[in-house]
Symmetry: C2
Subunit: 164 residues, 2 copies
């Protein structure tokens, strides 16, 4: 597996697995019909210290992470990040590798911490992964997410300091 | 005091106190030089169930609140709101009146809860006000806000269910 900065040419491969993930509505609090143009702009057009990385396996894009400031201005020293992994590449450590790369990249780019605002509690694989990478659950927003199968479920707000 | 929906004509009065509040950088995690055009669009151009209200005292705009979904899509049943009060009208209950009005309006418009992501812990008046209006602090994001005087301080994430 290789982690590298995303290039514009990567977008079709990313959208091929991102679109079904968004349409499923189970892990991202985005409209299930979020348009490709909006998503491409949000995911790919980053101003530093924002960044977009991809994980490659056998020259294929297996997953991606986008990093951006969680708040502007006086809150911009805390990063937020979004992750998506192609289901065809599950159980090969792509999420973990992207998580580790995002932590390292955000720290290198001067962010002091990373915060997630909306880790859906039924996404137990993600919750477990982030805890194993040093994130703590600051709080669970009660009934913060309307899951298409499970109804109203909680969302973890997670946090991890970066650097020493 | 009268609380009513904001109208486009209210903007100059709002900006007159909003600009110094933003420039002070002590309560909003926005760039201190946030442009008027961006602010006006964010504050005034709301798609329902988003809304903007003003508090009037003696036919003057004394404060304002904007309401919007805290997340899109599967998180859009939780409201977020931003409040600003003209310092010339402090200690007259404007913040409390706007808070109560925002809670009522968000509930009437179908939001199931209200969440604040960034109540700066040194803004003790706001923290106390929201607690007195039924919000609980879900968590304090450690060092989430770079205060121009106090340095890195915490930000309360607050939450309140709406309706019965």
């Amino acid at each position: 597996m290789r982690i590298r900065d995303a290039e514009a040419d990567d977008w079709p491969a990313i959208w091929a697995f991102a679109q079904p993930i968004i349409a499923a509505g189970a892990t991202y609090p985005w409209p299930r019909d979020t348009p490709e143009a909006w998503t491409r702009s949000f995911w790919m057009d980053k101003e530093p210290p924002g960044a977009t990385l991809v994980a490659e396996i056998d020259d294929q894009v297996a997953g991606t992470v986008e990093i951006h400031p969680n708040h502007p201005g006086q809150g911009s020293h805390v990063a937020n990040a979004g992750f998506m992994v192609d289901p065809a590449f599950r159980r090969r450590g792509v999420g973990r590798a992207l998580g580790e790369a995002a932590i390292a990249r955000a720290a290198a780019d001067g962010f002091l911490a990373m915060q997630f605002n909306a880790v859906v509690e039924t996404n137990t694989q993600a919750v477990g992964l982030w805890h194993s990478l040093g994130f703590t659950t600051l709080a669970i927003v009660p009934e913060g997410f309307r899951h298409p199968v499970h109804g109203l479920v909680g969302m973890h707000i997670m946090h991890r300091k970066l650097g020493s």
